[in-house]
């Protein structure tokens, strides 16, 4: 362990430089750098998709960078496996920490490196004593023999931290550790972070919550779109500056937003609530309007939309289409009411892989392409031809399995499928996530065209340029509630980020 724990910095325990990582179609990280110092907390800040999770996976040996250098204590090294990362002293506590429910606290702490006794058997007594000592050192009052299943999330975090200490980690990564914790538990976590700092650990703290970043971090690093934007000391920066760095790019893409006449209200939602996912959601959607929904991952946007599509049922609240109250018990009823939903999870919820393109298109419209229950292939092909052409689909034939298409073309088929039902309201959930730039433009273009034709469009998106570029109005959700609504000049990146993160003074 480094002896130098001065707050001024000293030498970094861990230094990443020039890290690049690409996935098919996406460059997740592009030459980023990161430095972690002993006894200090470095906050890693960025929007969804900025590359934070990717860097954590590289640090823990799950992904291998395409390019770039990892140095531990000044020496260049590689983490080919998760185990190698652990041996080098890097450990991570994830949002959903990977622990074993059926094992005891002590077994979880020492899994993979339990103290051995004679004949190579696990020395249970020594393991439990060590576990007790480790837990005491972080002020956790837990019985090492208790099964993990019986513990709450906060206690599980403590076990994960004890595990990190048991391998004598120099670097502890905390990926949104407070996301699932209560107020009191968060407070205890802060105290623990202080203890770890005092022990000279370098901590990488990933969070969307500015209040907690300012409370516990010593340093900051900002990523944006897989790029390194900047780093520095927390004492030399304020919220406004960080927000600006997070989002402060020019809108480098031209959005094909056309002028559409905003008409009468089509959909009115009032007091929509769900026991766990969302609370008191109310808004009105008009003909010809594109209404953007922005928020952090987990803010409850998709859940609200799926309730409107009849997947989940709200516990309270009403939804009116053209003034008529609708009770949506199934997706079939939602489709009949004219509400359709293009899901975020295309592979699982959107495309029926194994069925050809034309059958995917006609699936919700079978009652129109058949006569008294009997299919009419000619009509099916005609419908599929018509709508896929409007979306500029690229495929070898309409009889091709949809699973063979690229993500962007699959998305076009899913949108075509819904347009064929002649909906009144179309909900697009992260419509351009993970698709190539060409298809992205086609989807944006088409969205604009639909609104111009008088369709009411809801677009859930976590990409600020997309939300701002395409929407007439933006609703920001936070923790299952509507946090703010912006129109016109109020629609700025700063306002959206502040409202989504719950920063004071965002009200406009």
């Amino acid at each position: 362990m480094q002896a130098d724990t001065s707050a001024a910095g000293g030498t970094p325990v861990l230094r990443l430089s020039g890290i690049t990582k690409s996935f098919p179609g996406v460059r997740a990280l592009n030459g980023v750098g990161l430095e972690l110092f002993p006894g200090q907390v470095t906050a890693l800040i960025g929007e969804n998709g900025a590359g934070k999770s990717t860097i954590v996976k590289i640090l823990t040996g799950i992904y291998q960078p395409d390019e770039g250098v990892i140095q531990v204590n000044g020496r260049e090294t590689r983490f080919p496996t998760a185990q190698a990362a652990g041996e080098a002293g890097v450990t991570a506590i994830h949002q959903e920490t990977v622990l074993f429910d059926e094992l005891t606290v002590a077994e979880n702490i020492f899994i993979g490196h339990a103290p051995r006794g004679r004949f190579g058997l696990i020395d249970t007594r020594r393991m439990e004593n060590e576990a007790r000592r480790l837990l005491a050192s972080i002020g956790a009052d837990l019985d090492p023999r208790q099964r993990l299943r019986e513990l709450g999330i906060a206690s599980k975090h403590l076990v994960a931290i004890a595990r990190a200490l048991s391998i004598d980690a120099q670097v502890v990564i905390m990926d949104e550790p407070t996301a699932a914790l209560s107020h009191k538990e968060i407070h205890e976590l802060y105290e623990l972070v202080e203890k770890l700092k005092a022990q000279g650990k370098a901590i990488l703290f990933i969070s969307h919550k500015f209040d907690e970043i300012f409370r516990i971090a010593d340093r900051w690093t900002v990523f944006r779109d897989g790029q390194y934007v900047g780093a520095g000391l927390m004492s030399e920066v304020d919220e406004a500056r960080l927000v600006q760095l997070m989002v402060g790019r020019e809108v480098d893409q031209i959005y094909p937003k056309r002028h559409a006449e905003i008409g009468a209200p089509v959909l009115t939602v009032a007091g929509y609530s769900h026991p766990t996912e969302f609370d008191d959601i109310g808004f009105t959607l008009h003909r010809g309007e594109i209404l953007g929904f922005y928020g952090l991952v987990g803010a409850g946007r998709s859940e609200v939309m799926q309730a409107l599509f009849g997947i989940t049922r709200p516990s309270k609240g009403a939804c009116r289409v053209d003034g008529q109250v609708m009770v949506l018990r199934s997706t079939a009823e939602a489709v009949n009411a004219g509400i359709v939903y293009v899901p975020e999870d295309r592979g699982r919820q959107g495309a029926v892989k194994g069925l050809p393109i034309f059958q995917n298109v006609t699936l919700p419209s079978l009652n129109r392409t058949s006569r008294s229950g009997f299919l009419r292939l000619a009509e099916e092909f005609a419908m599929a031809r018509d709508y896929t052409q409007r979306l500029d689909l690229r495929a070898a034939s309409l009889d091709q399995d949809i699973g063979l298409l690229s993500g962007g073309n699959q998305q076009k088929v899913v949108i075509a499928k819904w347009l064929a039902t002649k909906p009144r309201i179309i909900i697009l959930d992260e419509p351009t996530k993970g698709i190539d730039i060409g298809s992205k433009a086609a989807v944006h273009d088409f969205m604009s065209e639909l609104a111009a034709e008088g369709l009411a469009v809801i677009m859930v998106s976590s990409e600020i340029p997309e939300v701002l570029g395409m929407s007439d109005r933006v609703i920001v959700m936070r923790e299952g509630r509507i946090a703010a609504e912006f129109t016109g000049d109020q629609m700025t990146p700063e306002n959206l980020v502040r409202a989504a993160a719950g920063i004071e003074g965002a009200a406009a």
Binding site: V352, L375, T388
Partner: protein, 337 residues
Amino acid sequence: MTDISMNKSAPVAKGRQIPDRLTSGWKRGLKSWEALLLVVAVAIFIFNSFASPYFLDPWSLSDASFNFTEKAMIAFAMALLIIAGDIDLSVASIMALVSTVMGVAMGLGASTPVLVFLGLGTGLLCGAFNGVLVAGMGLPSIVVTIGTMSLFRGISYIVLGDGAFTGYPADFAFFGQGYVWWVITFELVLFALFAVLFGLLLHGTSFGRMVYAIGNNATAARFSGIRVNRVRFILFLLTGVMSAIAAICLTSRLGSTRPSIAQGFELEVVTMVVLGGVSILGGSGSIPGVVLAALIMGLLTFGLGLLNVPGIVMSIIIGALLIGVIALPRLWKMVRR
């Protein structure tokens, strides 16, 4: 089936024309699993006719059809169920329960129409019971139907013990013993009728399309506005009713009910479905394939019987066939590449 068809009347939009199909129907048909089954069926037929002088006799062939007709009727419904991603292992036990209910009713003096009505009703109820547990409560079908497999037959054992019901009305015998014309049995006619009906249902209706969609991706099917659980429930009902029809035929043919009636049928039914090219994982398969598989299994059993192959060897062959057909499609796919 049209080849590459360019529709000129379609509105000219910005996108490019995408052809409907690239390969024509019959070209695909040649490479299909069904084509292979047909070759196998013909080969077995030819082999059998050389191996035994009795094979080509119309009356013995007619007798041989009983080897598969009852099982095949269930296999049609089972094929739809398996394509949709479920399975029903309780079909043979439904048959036992249906037969037992009819036996009890016969003891009380019920006439043939009443017996048939009660039998069909029992099958429907059994199917509904499975359907509620699987589609309604979301339990896995394989576990549910292993449970009801014991449950339904267990009821028969309680009612019958070591005994048997005999003495069905004379006109009840028609279903399993009657001839419609010359050597054509009533069961064979039913088999052909249901082959056509299920073929139309699966390949020609929107219901059939939904079955394929659910089997390939039930979540996406639900997200496409399909009432997935309703379709699954209907499939369990259909399987129950088809098991009842098979039970009526079998009871009529045997003229008696024992609790061990139709024991082990479920495995032969599943074998038939899988041999017919239905993916055990759901999502693909066809009724013509199942028809051919039924013929193959019938011809094979009959041929082996003519050659005096003992029953135990026959079940070894059926077992090998089941494993073989699950491995073969994979090999077949490799060959086709």
